[in-house]
Amino acid sequence: MGNDVQYTTQSPDSLNGFKAWFMNKLFMGMSMSEYSRSLATPFNFVAALILVVSAPIFTIRYVKGLATVLHATNEYPWGLLLSWGIFAGEPLFAAGFVVAAAYYIFGMKSYRSLVRIAVLGGMLGYMFAASYLLIDLGRPWRIYYPMLINFGTSSILFIVAWHVSLYITVQLLEFSPAILEWLGSKRLHRWATSITVALIIGGVILSTVHQSALGALYLLTPGKLHPLWYSSHLPLLFFSSAIYAAMSFAILLAFVAVRYFKDKCDKEFLENTPSLTLGLGKGAAVSMYVYFAINILAMAQDNKWGLLFTPYGYWYLVELLGFVAIPMGLFTIGVKNKRLKLTRFSALYAVIGIVLNRVNVNLIVFNWNQPDHFHHIIPPWTELMMIAAMITLNVLIFRWIVNRFPVTRELHGYRGMH
């Protein structure tokens, strides 16, 4: 990665000029050989290795069927790939809507420098969620069926399908100003920024519904999901935990930017990040208290206290105390004492807690009363490899965009326009 990157915002005037302009954009101002040399890093080597090893696995999945590479049984139809890719991923990727709402709707002006990186993280995440679905669906070429062919209007998954696909579109539009600035198209840029507020409100609605709908999916399974996790409050639990997951994820995104993309960040981004990290930490702590309280409420409402003293009860306590209460406390201490490192650590801790909760609901405590339950839920190595490949791709594309597009900085000539 070059340090002195020249970005041109001039439009090309001839075909040759266009080629030079475009290559300049792609290679970040470097020549092709310079650019290729800059790619030879240990990180890229590991990433390439993961992708090369997993490529045949993806091929086998599409040629030989799901059973060959995924944990696919009738008792556990949604394995770790979906638990991770959709159920654990989407609350984190709510980062885009939470930060955008804070800035555009709640008028928290200081969050402006974080909006784009949060929207980018969210947008990529949702596109990857759709890609995980394309791996896991038995007939992925029919992915549009709930939208165009036939409508299961009583289905929560129908709601999820519609909202996720609409929200991906909204996020693309939300992020489009950054792409248009990169391409230097001022007229389209003006149009794209003029519809921002409507988009943000639309995004808030779509996110609220589908984050809660992910929890509502399990309302149909009172006999299968362990009663400590099953509750009529599932939609609310999923929604409220998505809020703090999103804030924690935004903290981590900002950290990654200032730590690994420092040369791509402008002064405003670097100066604002510490105080915004603490601000987001405060928000995360508050929403964790809310989430914790709803958990207690659900427990009291269905009088599930007795279940706490069973093996699954201990596991529930590990999740609720070890992965909600502790990061919640750490967030509080970190924010109160303005300790940046502790706040960032709490964010990571909270994110791990969310992943644990979603994997729990989806896999670990689902069909808990089946014989040999734990024996059944261990995924094959090929499934883990596919997950690793998807994460790698997500990181690589994120890096590619942050390196080129004005995500963590404002381009000259567009200052204050969004």
């Binding site: 008028g107 129908f158 309302l219 009172p222």
Partner: protein, 330 residues
């Protein structure tokens, strides 16, 4: 769901008549209930209201069912063979007269729509109990509720059928089914589909009875109108109280199933889930579904107003200061 909806309406108008006959006060209560649930819904997003404002769907009238009497089942697996032939399924790994299959716990799958398992009899270890397992054909099936493409239909005859030409293979029906009945064909890359018992829907339409019931030599399977079968089951329990436990499985579980069961041993010993609610599972997600339009109508106004307020405040800080002064002086 169109056919089910039609059923709801027919059913609803009947209920409506009884409601009217009961007097105007009951209608008022219902309306109050409805508005109360709306208010409660607004207050807490996603908390399903338990108000049963709509009349309940109690199944298609005169639909068929099957009574399975486990005390009469001898484990001959004739039903498995007949099912395999009637549905043109591939030949099984072990022949149908091979008793060694009882050593393992089998389950319906893409390869077999029904299986017979052997269970220990807690009261009498020398005489095991055999249980035939297949889709129970719920009166309000969770698989049909769950399907985002409406590939499932509960037919008026009682069968829950599935259209593989619509399915995109999400397997939410497999998640939702309280009995773990839909089997997904994970092996096929291009023709992956759900495989489950369809109550020999084609045979029923032609006036025949399902293949398994026709093949059963021991009288363990009785095909008929579900309402009649319930009476028959109850009569057997009353006539032979020492032989049966006093429970017809499927009469009320998840709103009732077309296949109903009587047994000499408690159902939990036969692998039946006994932790299921008596109401149809769709009732558990209805409250949430009704919240979605509420969010769509209130959020734009709410957040639009918030946006306007924040921007007004930013533009006219001094104004608000003056107003504050006025109020203070007044």
């Amino acid at each position: 769901m169109s056919e089910i909806k039609k059923g709801r309406q027919t059913d609803g108008s009947e209920h409506g008549m009884t409601q009217d006959a009961a007097g105007p006060s009951s209608g008022l209560t219902r309306r109050n209930f409805l508005s109360m649930s709306m208010l409660a819904g607004c207050a807490a997003i996603g908390v399903p209201s338990h108000a049963q404002a709509m009349p309940e769907f109690e199944g298609w009238p005169k639909s068929y069912g099957m009574l399975t009497d486990f005390t009469a089942c001898v484990g001959c697996r004739s039903c498995e063979r007949a099912c395999n032939e009637a549905n043109k399924m591939p030949a099984p790994d072990k022949p149908f007269d091979d008793g060694s299959v009882f050593e393992e716990h089998r389950w319906p799958s893409a390869k077999a729509l029904t299986v017979v398992n052997r269970y220990k009899n807690p009261g009498n270890p020398s005489s095991p109990v055999y249980r035939k397992i297949q889709c129970n054909h719920c009166l309000e099936p969770a698989c049909a509720t769950a399907c985002p493409i409406h590939a499932y239909t509960k037919t008026p005859e009682g069968a829950v059928i599935y259209n593989k030409d619509l399915c995109f293979g999400c397997r939410y029906c497999v998640i939702a089914c309280p009995f773990n009945m839909p089997g997904y064909d994970y092996e096929s890359p291009f023709d992956a589909k759900i495989v489950k018992c369809i109550f020999c829907y084609g045979r029923i339409k032609e006036g025949q009875i399902p293949a398994c019931a026709e093949a059963c030599p021991g009288g363990a399977l009785t095909f008929g109108r579900r309402a009649d079968l319930l009476k028959l089951a109850r009569k057997r329990i009353v006539d032979y109280p020492e032989k049966y436990i006093d429970h017809i499985y499927g009469e009320y579980e998840v709103g009732g199933t077309s296949w109903i069961y009587i047994s000499g041993v408690p159902f939990e010993h036969l692998g039946f889930p006994t932790n299921l609610p008596k109401k149809p599972l769709i009732e558990l997600s209805k409250g949430y579904l009704s919240m979605v339009p509420v969010i769509f109508t209130t959020f734009p106004a709410l957040f639009g107003a918030l946006y306007a307020m924040m921007h007004d405040k930013a533009a006219g800080k001094e104004d608000s200061h003056d107003k504050h002064q006025e109020v203070h002086n007044g």
